[in-house]
């Protein structure tokens, strides 16, 4: 029948499948994507603070090693810490660590939202006590070391 043949032909002709998936459109992102926008820069600075956390641990390991090796080694450690380059490194480290503390406390309410009676506790009720704990702990450590 002529009608059948025509129908088969349209079925065969209509779909045209590609064998491979078409390439995604993914515009290349620069290695410096985090420069130029404060939010991105803040993100990278927060990530970078971890490097100074590691620097602090290395300094603490040097202190512990000095303590093992006696009074002279401890005196030598204290002199090393007076080196201007070490001071500059520690100023930068302290800046990053305080930056870490503040961003960490301010993110805590988003990371662990607390609900009380169906209502979300205001952010300050979670980050507030963290700041208080920070001050109390810092005062206690200073007292322990200086007494």
């Amino acid at each position: 029948m002529p009608g059948m043949a025509a129908k088969r032909q349209t079925i065969e002709a209509a779909p045209h499948y590609t064998e491979y998936h078409p390439r995604w459109y993914r515009p290349p992102v620069s290695v410096y994507w985090w420069l130029g926008e404060w939010h991105y820069l803040k993100f990278i600075l927060r990530e970078l603070s971890s490097v100074f956390v590691a620097v602090f641990v290395v300094e603490t390991l040097l202190l512990l090693n000095a303590l093992r090796n006696g009074a002279d080694a401890y005196a030598h450690f204290l002199v090393t810490m007076q080196n201007p380059l070490v001071i500059v490194l520690n100023v930068i480290s302290l800046f990053f660590l305080v930056f870490h503390t503040i961003t960490w406390f301010n993110l805590a309410p988003s990371a662990t939202p607390v609900r009380l009676g169906g209502k979300r506790l205001p952010d300050i009720m979670i980050s507030g006590p963290a700041y208080v704990a920070w001050i109390v702990i810092s005062a206690f450590i200073t007292w322990m070391v200086l007494q």
């Binding site: 590691a54 303590l67 870490h100």
Partner: protein, 121 residues
């Protein structure tokens, strides 16, 4: 019936270490760094004598505290630094090498801390 087995992700475990280390670093490190990095070297405060600081370091609780102060923040560093390298430098393809270097470094650092604290006289 065959059970569909999925490889469990180890990400939550490392995230908990990251999170605990981050809290530890936030609460405890700034004051330590201020005292030993600035206040004592610049003479704002008097550094404890060897006898005084050893009296502290001999206390078991202080040793445990100092171990945790080194170990947890190192694992915090390992997690964050791994992602700094992935995102900041876009080197996701070096995934495995970076993973081993970061967590291996944190483990070695923790072991050194344990050894030093164990052998303090």
């Amino acid at each position: 019936m065959a059970r569909h087995e999925e490889k469990a992700s180890n990400e939550p475990f490392f995230w908990i270490l990251f999170s605990a280390g981050g809290m530890m670093a936030a609460l405890f490190i700034p004051i330590h760094l201020f005292l030993f990095g600035l206040a004592f070297p610049l003479g704002w405060l008097h550094a404890p004598s060897y006898e005084q600081i050893m009296a502290l370091a001999r206390m078991p609780l202080v040793r445990i505290y100092l171990f945790v102060l080194c170990a947890l923040p190192l694992f915090h560093w390992a997690h964050r630094f791994r992602y700094t390298l992935y995102d900041g430098l876009k080197v996701k393809h070096l995934n495995e090498v970076i993973f081993v270097l970061c967590y291996g470094g944190a483990t070695v650092g923790s072991l050194i801390a344990a050894y030093f604290l164990w052998t303090i006289g």
